[in-house]
Symmetry: D2
Subunit: 269 residues, 4 copies
């Protein structure tokens, strides 16, 4: 055993620097821990729940009269809620943060890969598709919860199809949609809306019959990034309770070394 250990004073005797008063008279909007990697369990439409690994940020505000924040408490709160970081529990965790820090506001951001079994269109082969998801919630001045998913899709260029004698350039793109809503929204339902707004969905497992099918489906549904964001905006109406959305489409253009990009914000009524 390290001899340094025996010299450690009692916790009570160690000065609490963070709790000291501060005279600069400046409130801090957010202070906390960033980029904590943590295993979490997420509710899953098909299998009740799934285990994944998240990247987590946790912040509270700091009134001007305090010098610092006790950062270790964030990790303690995370540990107390281990295994139950779900949309439903989000406000509990936020309340816990607000109370423990005597803060006015609390913010929690959780980003994670989410897997869904996806059936190929013809062969009916099943593969696992990964989607990047993000929950971001705040309480305090105003309560807020935003659900975001990033969905890889296939897009085929309408201009290229129209002007070319054969073929049409197409590529992988990503569509990122963030929504605010009342009630409950399944990640799966939001992904479905996005996938049907592209030229064709992307799969992890496709047999030859499927490859023929998706090639022709994309060719029959040419879409600019402009079309994708507009069609997502339209199709989002199928999801009940959506009050706000930001919709972003980016194409890893197959004929360029840069991306084509479109962004649209849908404000609630």
């Amino acid at each position: 055993m390290n001899k340094a250990m025996s010299k450690v004073m009692d916790k009570e005797k160690l000065k609490d620097v963070q709790n000291q008063p501060d005279s600069r008279n400046i409130d801090i909007d957010k202070v906390g821990v960033k980029d904590i990697r943590y295993p979490i369990v997420v509710r899953d439409k098909a299998n009740e729940n799934q285990t994944t690994v998240a990247n987590i940020n946790m912040y509270v505000d700091l009134p001007h009269h305090f010098k610092g924040t006790h950062m270790s408490r964030f990790v303690e709160i995370l540990n107390e809620h281990r295994g139950e970081i779900t949309i439903e529990k989000f406000s509990d965790i936020l309340s816990n943060m607000k109370e423990r820090f005597s803060a006015r506001t609390a913010h929690l951001e959780v980003e994670f890969p989410y897997f869904i079994e996806k059936t190929a269109p013809v062969s009916k082969s099943v593969g696992l598709m990964e989607y990047n998801c993000r929950f971001a919630g705040s309480i305090g001045e105003k309560d807020d919860f935003v659900l975001q998913v990033t969905v890889p899709v296939s897009t085929l260029c309408p201009c290229s199809k129209e002007i070319s004698d054969r073929g049409a350039h197409n590529q992988r793109g990503t569509v990122t949609v963030a929504i605010r809503f009342t009630g409950f929204v399944w990640i799966e339902d939001l992904i479905e809306v996005i996938e049907k707004s592209a030229s064709c969905p992307v799969y992890s497992l496709l047999k030859r019959t499927d490859e023929k099918f998706v090639t022709e489906q994309a060719y029959d549904n040419p879409k600019f990034v402009e079309d994708v964001v507009r069609d997502v905006a339209t199709n989002l109406k199928e999801i009940e309770g959506v009050t706000w959305a930001s919709i972003e489409a980016e194409n890893l253009e197959s004929i360029h070394n840069h991306s084509a990009y479109a962004f649209l914000e849908v404000k609630g009524d």
Copy 2:
């Protein structure tokens, strides 16, 4: 020569799909090109100007009655302004974008590494420090220009220093400051304000005498991320014309595998 080429029709005869009317009745906030890499020249306080390599995004709005945007025009505009992408020329480029696309709004984002010769505190050895900079401008509904720099710094933990019999944990951190301002602000001046708000600046070249100096300087100036953002907020008053600022400090904690983080927004009067 590829025989496909002989079949290429005249440009006039190729259908302009982007110009077709659109009936979905949805305006698009931003459409354009993203992640174009491009060599640029930036004004430099010491040497008049420096050549660097930027990552560029260019967007305009798209009214609901048009189907698409002519993406190649963005690259043409960039080419026309090659060698003169500076803070001063920003509004010219934006006006050019707005006009060429008959758009209501135009957005230009340019991010690049910027190098400054920095003199070591004791040996006076000179090294080149890299700082990440970003210009983001918009015209249309409201004109806007934001200058952002990310500065690597050294921070030493006040709590660790206070409670430990010897030493104190310290680490590399980054401070990201974005400002709006009237008049002109040198990147160099903004960096200076940030560097003096940390425990100690970071250098590319330090001799042994310098290493002793910066070690002791950091030990004598312990700072939490909370202190750093507050001190930047205070020191920013030295730069004339700043009307708004967002200040972010992140520590790559040397005792943890996650970051400590603080964020502060300074609203103008």
Copy 3:
């Protein structure tokens, strides 16, 4: 239902382009799928096993007389072994790949975050630490298996401590060790060897008494990256069966904006 679907021909009638002969007379060393994200289960010393999310590459060789590879088979093999991608099963999966593709060689690379409960040195608080791990195996010309872990650590500069009147610069570093071995090696044991070769381990949860402890422990154990790789090389002897190792240490220097780096290869007897 999409009408394109009704036109899909039977699988038998779709031409198998990959199986066509190739006349360029060039063997390909590795062909396959890269960056598949996939949930996996890994053996865990404390809890039997843990679920995590991997990044997977799968390759086989392709003899010169074949034009292409049936990429979907890689994903099918992955699906068949779902839930059992462990060190022990690695050679089964590789054999399966080799056989299914009639290949001479097969390669499988699996990279994933791995979590271990770690107890703080004084308060005995428990936190979850993340380590990046990688399994890489091959069969064919020569059978091979390499286990790699990347461990975040704290390092304190011996020179800075020696020459300064107070304090010493320290920082987060990463140590990446890859080993070949006979028998079985726990990831946990390899991590332990690495952590004790640094100035101090890194934790996810530290209370004030712990912070004092680790600050002083690092100050009492100053190490250059050179020391870290040498001490790992020495301490690795505690793990039975290691026949080869590559050892890499990188410091995110707190006084510079670049890294200090050392690399060492240990060849077996």
Copy 4:
């Protein structure tokens, strides 16, 4: 002026910890600085030279009897060669490193974006294309120099074209080729060999007539990643003096969320 400065002892009196003897009896293969960002000038076939920004690693070996390396010397050497980091000067810099550190071996790695003006195939519009390049050299046990470029290309799937009634999936891919050679090789010539081995090159600026042309060119030249690496291997013979090559092709598949990958090593005669 900081009062700490007055306390700084003369350089002569500061103990040289790195120069102390080491008793662990372990040689270190590589020790040095990593990820230094630095502006460099590279020889350019069209314009004599171009300024860009590099990421640089510099290493030497460290014999077992020395404790550490004087890291600041690497940055000093870099500063001395500022403005002349070219293929031709590489061995001078390496010799300088070897001598200054009294090392047996020295390694220098320089990675940078490189821009070439590229003319669109029909409209003859000119745009700037970015390519990622890397020089890696060593002297000592054996002298070595490797030139590497990563080229974005367009690939169209032969299987998809064959089995589909209309269209064919295509995507952006990257081809990374590293070569050893005698004499001198232009980066531009290596890029040309790679671009003609894909289904179609990628451009930064294409007008509508060009878009038609490249769409049809890609459709007329379907290539698997397997075809791309084989065709690069064949076409490399046009470059005089190549003695070794590694060829890697990766497709950002437009129908999947993972990449297709092929790798080939060409050994010299």
